[in-house]
Assembly symmetry: D2
């Protein structure tokens, strides 16, 4: 993937819980923010996808929480494609503190592509131009 | 409105914030839970509405926070229709602690009805049987 | 209030609901984002407050939803102090679409200040330097 | 673990997204609801834990999304302890549709226990009575 500046998120008060830290479910939402940002940058965001009749649900997600994030911290999220075959897409995320660089959380998500009837599609077959866009950008050495 | 048992909600950990209390935005969601529950009970929940091609967005909402709600508390939410004219619907909510009866929050919400094209409709004209259901149930003395 | 650039928020996928628009409860969270941003800018954010042993709960909130906001829109939020007397603070918000300038939502929130024992305090008496900061910045003609 | 009735959750409107299904991040919150429910049932809920000065952050979480959950569905969540050694606790979750029994999502979460200074503790050493409670209940064949 050509260089896209990593996504930044500023922690909001409503994202904290009574432990005084960010509630763990929010990192899953931040992964989505970062993914959404990257897809938009390469020209095929969720909006563009859905306008072409493609929806892309999440098949799986995982996160490992390393250190705690607190209100008003800024986190930097690096997103990488770890696998793409035209049918399934896997991404990995690294959330770190902007100031200290300390890693807060790492995780992954897995996605497929469905048409408007909810049937799985191969981007390669149904949307070759999108597939080429992905393949080009998401070349994995 | 004939007697419908008030809605109950148990406070979840993810609803708290670093003040150690429920984040204020969640009461707005609880109003929706209670509204959703009441509409379903009278036979015209959001699901039934949307199946008939009616969507009912929120036009306005307000809340007054009286006392604090904490993790694992159970709150009881009483919902009343304060006005309904076939075009607009206003509801009021009273959130109280189940154990002590202490009032936690009061609020209101205002709604209209739109067809699938997003144009406002009169339930009275377009869905008289629904209108009658509402009028009957939501008679205000 | 001296000129602070209005707060911007990019709408996330997880903020939408099945109506295809932003769920109304999120505007209440955006008000908090904007408030948090403004307070931090004037040097007395929630973090600074809580470090001095002051918490500032929300006493009331209201919102009027004018037009719909959708995924990937950017909204601009203008925040104004409408009243401040050392004990209570009222703010108003105007959420508009960045691209078209169309107003999406307006609202208000009301706040008090509590010490660590949860008792209401007068910023004027207990934290005169903070009070002066507020009064200076939040002068209302 | 002695028989505890599985936890039930009714899907709320604010939990849906513009795909018309439950947003995937909410399952992570439902895992917490189910965990919270089970821990409370065995007499050592988060409230009791925190009153004794123990906090129990989430170290890792994963979820596999099998089929889609929609607004107003009721899901049943079965929670199992898959590992416990006095220091770390692992739980697994199975979310299924109440009506059809169809599995919606499976997942796991991993937890440790910290004292008020944020240092990891062995429940076995520091809170033997709690450890015994867990060991007894969470016996794994």
């Amino acid at each position: 993937m050509k260089e896209i500046e990593p996504y930044e998120h500023k922690v909001q008060y409503y994202e904290t819980d009574q432990m005084g830290i960010v509630h763990h479910s929010n990192y899953i939402r931040w992964f989505e923010e970062a993914r959404s940002y990257v897809l938009e940058k390469i020209g095929f965001g969720y909006k563009e996808m859905e306008e072409r009749g493609i929806i892309s649900p999440v098949l799986a997600v995982n996160a490992e929480y390393k250190t705690m994030t607190r209100y008003s911290d800024i986190v930097v999220i690096k997103t990488k494609v770890t696998s793409y075959n035209g049918i399934k897409l896997m991404l990995s995320y690294e959330v770190s503190d902007k100031e200290t660089g300390k890693i807060r959380c790492t995780g992954e998500s897995k996605h497929c592509f469905l048409n408007t009837e909810g049937r799985p599609i191969s981007l390669k077959r149904s949307f070759p131009e999108v597939h080429n866009l992905f393949s080009e950008r998401f070349h994995i050495e």
